[in-house]
Amino acid sequence: MFAVLYLPDFGLQAVLRHEPAVAGKPVALVDPGHATPRVFLMTAAARVGGVEMGQTAVQAMARCREVVIRHRSLKQETAATEAVLQVAFGFSPHLELTGPGTITLDLRGLAELQDTASDGASPNPTPRLAAWAQRLQTVIRGLGLQVRIGTGPTPTVARHAARWSDGIELVTDAPAFIASLPVAALEPSVHVASILQQWGVRTVGELLALGQAELADRLGLEAFGLFAAASAGALRPLHLVRPVECFEESLELEFPVETLEPLLFLLRRFTGQIGCRLEACGFVAETLHLTLRLESGAVLERRLRIPQPTRAPDALFGMLHTHLESVRTDAPIVAVGLAADPARPEQRQFSLFEAALRDPNQFQETLARLSALVGADRVGTPQRDASHRPDAFKLMPPDFENAPPVGTVRAVELLRPTPQRRLRPAVRTTVERERPAAQGVSIHARPVALRGPLASGTITRSLGPWCSSGHWWEPEAWSREEWDVETQRHQVVRLACRNGEWTVEAIMD
């Protein structure tokens, strides 16, 4: 048993699948590759409006004022083909790309369609096959493409069934079905078609009744081709293809986009279709690559890591939405692209007492919102630098599930400093040092008074100095002197002196 997926007006569908706004409108497709682009595909509404094949765009617009002219896009056709192949691969691993918009599937050996009756009787497989075809059609419609599906005992019969059906055609009696087809189904040449019309031959059955030898005597070698095309039993090996594991959607915009809303509308479709394709292949997305091409020619690329790989369109879209809310571009956007790196879904068994994030994707989205609110460099898990410099740290993305076990490297309690409240930035202050009786002011003389916005007055107690320095071998060498002091008003602060300049770095609390 074989099945054929036939996408009518494939070039037109490929261009319009990201433009639901023009659905139902008269649309004509011209090929910009020719010197004078002419209409070669059109929607039914355009046909009703008077547009004809071979007209130039100007002629088509003269005939039908509302007609929307679109250029053929080989890139979009390739993307649509890949999308359908990926989806079809989830239904049968044996695929052939028979032609543009035509894919043949070998259904032999599919367990889903196998006879499960144990008594050896031959149950009717049609309901199972119909359900299978219905599911496939629904999934492909999710990609924004209309498809006709035909099944039959040979690829040829299945192809005829797909091309001449309205939706799904399951052929059980192949000779009778073939005989009922119009002669045009065999795609005869114009000359032979006119001869057959003059003879009054309308259907394939009438043609076959004439006999192959007799017909060949009168029509020549083409008669053999017609009989081969009408054969209900000829099997041929399929040229199997394997879909690439590339999940990408892109669109060149007709008009530059300046606001977020239309962009989100597009990305909603992209995430839905990519999610659909990933699901068909059994993948999840672990990274999203967003590409925005600007009118100025600049390209904005963003890579979004998904903490908990998923193919849920809402989760993917939520990440993009949050990210784009903080994106500002210098010029309008003329092209959008979205690609997902596929990964196998992770199966993980949580332990009973493990504290894990309930929804890592939601958490990632919240982090993105927090970054947009306070700045990307102000949200995260602190990690101290490998330096003795006070208050030297960097913020890393939180990774609670892989946090080191507690208690393994805990410092000795006596060595742990007393927590204070840091002032960032440190507040400049004026400090008066103790004057030794003898020779002038010592460099490490004890501070005796300070005056500043946070604390001021006579210093009653002080601890220090603690001198530290580092990176003396580099241009950003640092050296400092620290004192913990208590004023007469019982304010306990940490003073730091760098290059003779005093600051209050922390207060005791």
Binding site: F353, E354, A355, L357, R358, D359, P360, Q362, F363, T366, R369, L370, L373, V374, R378, V379, G380, T381, P382, Q383, R384, D391, F393, L395, P398, D399, F400, A403, P404, P405, V406, G407, T408, V409, R410, A411, E413, L414, R416, P417, T418, P419, Q420, R421, R422, L423, R424, R461, S462, L463, D484, V485, E486, H490, Q491, V492, A506, I507, M508, D509
Partner: protein, 224 residues
């Protein structure tokens, strides 16, 4: 006489919106996150209120609120959990915490009070973080005065519905929707700094300002 249908509907609506207020009296408050300071834990009846707001008032200099924050962080890390700290004035002392403790901290460094409130709102809605600390101790008083009381009630609704624990550190009593309010009233001096954090924590003194009465469901006692 049976109650009129509108009153029944109203009661049902209120019960849905404020489930804890209309719940039958519980034998005791739900046990919360221990802070790791015995005197404070016993005062709070085990720790921070689960699904409620606890306000820690640390007025004046050297009150000890930063010590409480670090003790809580260590305790949370010890229990293998994690917390989010919304640092209203970017004053968290990274040097005073160990690396494995810091690994369980999500630190949001804010510059203004409204930033901190928005960040807290986002975290409470996220539902991934079981414990959120909002530290407003060093935020300017004029910014704190502008906080609408409705914000605290909104936070209260969020933590109640999501089962989150929220600790707010303030320089003065200001969280109207707080289920528990404790004042830390220590006067830390240089001698205690030199003695080390363990001695400092032992010397902290706390006073309960507001608490839910045990077993009383929704009754509250105000003090101070």
């Amino acid at each position: 006489m049976p109650a009129a249908p509108p009153i029944v509907d109203l009661r049902r609506l209120l019960a849905e919106r404020f489930p804890r207020a209309h719940a039958p009296a519980a034998p005791s408050r739900p046990s919360g996150q221990s802070i790791g300071i015995p005197q404070l834990d016993s005062l709070l009846g085990g720790g921070l209120l689960h699904g409620g707001i606890t306000e820690l008032v640390g007025s004046g200099n050297g009150s000890g609120s930063a010590q409480v924050l670090h003790c809580l962080l260590r305790q949370v890390a010890d229990s293998g959990r994690f917390l989010a700290l919304v640092d209203g004035a970017d004053s968290f002392d990274v040097d005073a915490a160990e690396a494995e403790v810091l690994a369980r901290l999500l630190w949001v460094r804010c510059c203004k009070t409204d930033e901190a409130l928005k960040a807290t709102d986002l975290l409470l809605r996220d539902r991934n973080i079981p414990l959120v600390v909002l530290d407003l101790k060093l935020n300017p008083e004029h910014e704190l005065r502008r906080i609408a009381s409705s914000i605290w009630f909104r936070f209260g609704r969020l933590v109640e519905h999501h089962g989150t624990t929220l600790l707010v550190i303030t320089p003065q009593s200001m969280v109207g929707a707080a289920d528990l309010r404790v004042q830390v009233e220590s006067r830390l001096d240089l001698k205690s700094v030199a003695a080390g954090p363990a001695v400092v924590v032992d010397g902290l003194q706390f006073q309960m300002l507001r608490a839910m009465v045990e077993g009383g469901g929704n009754e509250r006692r105000e003090a101070g």
